[in-house]
Symmetry: C2
Subunit: 414 residues, 2 copies
Amino acid sequence: MKKNVIAAQSGGPTVAINASLAGIVDAVIKSEAYDTVYGSVYGILGIINDNLINLNEQAAKIPNFIDTLKTSPAMYLGSCRYKLPDYEEDTASYDHIFNQFEKYNIGAFFYIGGNDSMDTVLKLSQYGKRIGSDIRIIGIPKTIDNDLCMTDHTPGYGSAAKYVASSILEIAHDTFIYSIQSVTIVEIMGRDAGWLTAASALARNSYNSAPHLIYFPEVAFDQEQFIQDVKEQLSKRNNVIIAVSEGIRDKNGNYISASTAANDQFGHSQLSGTGKSLEYMIRDSIHVKVRSIELNVLQRCAAHLASLTDLNESFSLGTHAVRYAKQGYTKCMLTLNRISNNPYSISIDTADIENIANEAKAIPREWIHEAGNDITPALHEYMAPLIAGEPSVSYKDGLPVYLPVTHLDRDSEN
Amino acid sequence: MKKNVIAAQSGGPTVAINASLAGIVDAVIKSEAYDTVYGSVYGILGIINDNLINLNEQAAKIPNFIDTLKTSPAMYLGSCRYKLPDYEEDTASYDHIFNQFEKYNIGAFFYIGGNDSMDTVLKLSQYGKRIGSDIRIIGIPKTIDNDLCMTDHTPGYGSAAKYVASSILEIAHDTFIYSIQSVTIVEIMGRDAGWLTAASALARNSYNSAPHLIYFPEVAFDQEQFIQDVKEQLSKRNNVIIAVSEGIRDKNGNYISASTAANDQFGHSQLSGTGKSLEYMIRDSIHVKVRSIELNVLQRCAAHLASLTDLNESFSLGTHAVRYAKQGYTKCMLTLNRISNNPYSISIDTADIENIANEAKAIPREWIHEAGNDITPALHEYMAPLIAGEPSVSYKDGLPVYLPVTHLDRDSEN
């Protein structure tokens, strides 16, 4: 009898995480080795709570399921932020999960997620080995932050990078129109690594030199130097645009966003955003029109502006996961390895999950300009191919057509 | 000898304002009546400061000029916020402008803009009449706020509405993934009218009921009622999404954004955004995960997500302006008049500028739900056709291809 598989999604949303799920579903349906692919609703919790859905049936029932899933944002299966206990202390949870695997005749479990999800892959792999299970446990990376080790880049990053670069370009157009001087600060996601903030530099082209300054979590932020940088830029041009990571810290490691804590009318201590903090620093030092913009969650869910390269790679990771499982690979995460930049080409390989879980990858210092406020050409070369290409997104009544989350009936009146 | 014309753009950016300019350029190039179309750089200031560019030459020189201009955000000619003095008190400015018209052999002046620009059209028309000038002075509307009188809707509104609705849908997908309860507040532009905030309702579809609450400047905001509304929604669903206009006011006419003014570490009084204010109100009253998102300037400059209906209408306004000028129309603004909703069709007519300048149009109260926190079906029917259709935007290196502002060399190092 052919075995079945389970797929689950975890962590924060990206635009590409459903593409990997679509790849798994596509590969299982075409597979000689596996029969049914179950989706675990709300990450690993779906297995624990016996909340599984049959994705073969969904693919048969919903028109263009694979293609629409590939371009739909966030998680079709829902997500969770759940960390498995240590199996030395609590074997019951693990026994329950492996009993569920047995009940559903599971041959492989695919977990699409970031660092925390890879921790789950590691623990399940180790426990499976201990009990002599031959179920393949495979991680598929995703995070807009691009901070996973052992992989050239992470699925979801390319699309978020494209959104950031396009937004900076459009914001630049918005600032170009007046003859008076202005400073615009754009706050970009990335608490510990500046990869996404660096992508703002991809907005530069033959007529646009913005962003003119970029600040990264990897480089200690110095307020005096910052004001000096802005003044120097204002001496050169009318409209200065600054890209800043939400995660910048001073030399003592304190987040800049926390340094301008204010009290509201109820006496609450409020944390201003990092962009707002920089806005206030400029207001306090320079007489110039200044505003700050937080790109916020749209950088991880604006699927209508996804990178086709990103979606295709994410889909391939899904199909490769099924293939690697069939070949016996387990206790691993799939990785993207860059073969060449020009033409851009990658291979999909595996890495031992022990080398990945709970580690984070920052931008190498040599890829950040010596002054700490810009990228180097090498980083530009690294990022540029990742945002290339546009998927074909369908529109209905003027809006992009996406697949709703599968369990949505709980959240909706409809 | 054939006469020339001048076109200028003024006020805040929209995605469609260049489409009207493209329409003017296209019509003049094909016209038997007019020779050259000059672009006035930085609005009316370009005429005053003798900063005109020959757009026929640009169209001949730049590949795909008309098509790329049609889909480029903000203003190709730059903008200004300049109000002409009263001509009873200062005739010199007016004499200078009309001397400039004479110097360039101008037969018509087209001003693309919002309320303030229409004030300029009114004053120039009146002064022209006084001195017996036969130069046609014609206004072409634009504003994302949709608050100009005498026209069914304004160019720029449909594209901004499409951006708002798409963003709400994508944010909804972002919130769907967790099983824990949350409230998400989305702040939308529109200081005096709620048209753009109302467009959030277009995000609703077969699976998405968000936004679940909508608050307008047209209805006095009551904090207690708001908290009650949110609690009621939370009793029905996990993820509550709220759309709020930046311009909501309490029953005394005070902006809600000002009511939570806080002091930062430098002792500055800060104005929180409206969304932030609502976020704090909820934090103070309900134990639930809450966040606020400000759509900010992207709603007026994200041209890659424009409404084709909007761009086509804006382009037609440009071509019609040239035609109406030739027919002798002056002292008027072009208007869009809805002939039918299904199929959607409009005519382009003119209205006396005296009935338009300095007036603002709010949403009729009967188009807002009695409870003041949602729209009615009639408003939905009014908005829906305006966001329809997607323009063909070119991409290069993963980013949309736009035309830079024509005077950009001043602002750039390149």
